[in-house]
Symmetry: C2
Subunit: 343 residues, 2 copies
DNA sequence: TCGAATTATGAAAACATTTGCAAAACTATT
DNA sequence: AATAGTTTTGCAAATGTTTTCATAATTCGA
């Protein structure tokens, strides 16, 4: 329908329209202070008339930054990652970057393939989620020299700067909380840990902490439940309706805990009187659910922002490379879903 | 740390290493069937040795597709958009596209600016969220000739192909449901509608439907509540603890409804005996909350997939342009949170 | 074993920019 | 009014590819 100006306007179209050379138009965009005002005005009008839009691809092959950052996450379907990405993207957008986003669904092979694609697009930097990645991914990153940060998880030493929360600490905190309340008959519900170092770290440290206090979790109280409210509701219901149920249930994340809360209710148990239920994460609804969920806050928004700041900085000023890791500390949030066991 | 091979490998580096010409290397990637196996093998090894990664920017300036799609949403913080984006991205990734993602936070000015940036990156196509956009946005899209689809919302006629659910229909369905149960004392809770055509459409049609049945919603039962469980919990609590409260509360989305459910409980009311509460959306947790939420399902995943299919198709085969809109029908999901009013 | 037909490869132009260098156009100074 | 100095602009080369056209290498039939 629209009048197709035969060809898309390029820089020489604009140059002709403004009766200047292409170089001058280029300077108009990149070093406007070098032009005299009259020329600037001419070009301004020519740009408007021709509908010219700069071509970053053409700039990029001159070694100029592409203005893109590759963001690689497991999935957006977990609200918590969506939140991190949102915060990250807002932060780097403010600095003029646009993000390339892709999710690997916990498939390490795909992660590598996606990273390659990002590099083909000549992203200026890359964010990966979590600390554990295929060795090939790290090597690829090493061989290119673009900055990379590992977001979400934190550890003292890591292959690239890590910005996130210490998941082991989070697990330890919640386990310690449950123990401190006096629970000894404790069940756990964790997501499948394959390809998911965060979940794995949390689970192991919870178990260790309990064990350290002399509490063994029997196998049939060690639930593995996929990330889904309905699944966790079902599993919790089944667990809690057995004879002699646990007095506390530690969930690997708040989604599982939310489902467990529903499951407890469906089993006719009250929380926290009959059973304490705790999560990890402090997701959006966790403070408002009834009863409000005791959990460990992982500061998603802050993590996204800090990662964005750090990466943008590393890109803009590559001299200050080797950026530092940053721990966004988890925090125990005690609410109504946990209490001392009835005796 | 890593041994920096002085310069990044480009196609001529590879060519030299393989003792062939640059053209041959180019063909190796784009028309491998033209090379004889021996040459292919030589280049294969040279690519590996040099660590060469193709430069899409350089291809793009030849008019070759960039392999990117710009996705423009209000925010990822609403789980429902995250879900749509995830489905969309999976669908187009399978076709080799990578997405550029940005959010405008309901700011029309920013939407325009982001679109321009997408175009500078020479995206092969664009997805916008919702039907309403600044006229400048539409004009810009018209002037470029890349395909665009409007995702999430549906209307019979729209500026570009629309793939989504009819929000007016959804609003009408939920209002009709509440009326059919016999309610007449009905309150509404909707998000701020500024810059948000979806919310606006829903609200207006709900009101119209109620009015059509002779039900007026008094001003003080017309709540405007930001998208947040805690806010809606508070507002609902306040509403429901007044003397002579409504027997039903229609919420503009499931997040508000979830908060309202908590608010009702906190006010000591039972749902649905004392008050029916319904939402729109059928978000992830809505079926599992206690009581399970009556709502109208907006098929986010399907919308994302269909939009992805349509856009990828329009890009790959531009002859079949002028793609059609597609209605992904909303569906009333009756669960426990709604019932006939007690009398 | 030769020439024709076919297949594989290379040289060079094209793509949309940026940039170093040099020329042109101004200003200021005398 | 001429010169020196400064500011503004244009030319041409460069960037990393793809592609057209031409040439070189191979295959095949006689």
């Amino acid at each position: 329908m629209s009048v197709n100006k035969t060809k898309k306007a390029d820089i020489v179209t604009v140059a002709k329209a403004a009766r200047v050379s292409a170089s001058t138009v280029s300077r108009y965009f990149n070093h406007p202070e070098l032009l005299k005002p009259a020329t600037r005005k001419k070009i301004d009008s020519a740009v408007r008339r021709t509908g010219y839009i700069r071509n970053r691809a053409a700039q990029t092959i001159h070694g100029i930054r592409s203005g893109t950052i590759g963001v690689l996450i497991p999935t957006l379907d977990h609200a918590i990652f969506a939140e991190v990405v949102q915060a990250f993207s807002e932060t780097v957008e403010a600095q003029g970057f646009t993000i390339l986003l892709a999710s690997h669904g916990y498939d390490l092979q795909r992660e590598y393939a996606i990273l390659r694609k990002f590099l083909e697009h000549r992203v200026d930097g890359v964010v990966l989620t979590g600390l554990d990645h295929d060795e090939a991914v790290f090597q690829l990153l090493d061989s290119q020299d673009i900055p990379c940060v590992l977001m979400w998880n934190y550890a003292a030493q890591s292959r690239f700067p890590a910005i996130g929360a210490d998941n082991e600490l989070a697990g330890q905190m919640i386990a310690a909380h449950v123990l401190a309340l006096g629970h000894r008959r404790i069940a756990c519900m964790f997501p499948p840990t394959f390809g998911n170092d965060r979940a794995l770290a949390r689970r192991d440290v919870v178990l260790d902490t309990l064990q350290g206090a002399g509490v063994e979790v029997p196998d049939h109280w060690m639930l593995q439940t996929v990330y889904s409210i309905s699944e966790s509701k079902r599993d919790a219901q089944q667990l809690l309706s057995q004879a002699n149920p646990p007095t506390a249930l530690i969930c690997g994340n708040d989604i599982l805990a939310t489902g467990a809360l529903y499951g407890a209710k469906a089993s006719g148990l009250s929380v926290p009187e009959d059973v304490s239920i705790v999560g990890i994460g402090d997701f959006k609804g966790s403070s408002d659910i009834e009863p409000a969920l005791t959990t460990v806050r992982l500061p998603a928004k802050r993590i996204g922002q800090e990662a964005g700041k750090e990466l943008a900085m590393a890109i803009v000023d590559p001299s200050a490379r080797g950026g530092a890791s940053l721990h966004c500390a988890p925090e125990l949030i005690t609410r109504q879903s946990s209490a001392a066991p009835a005796r």
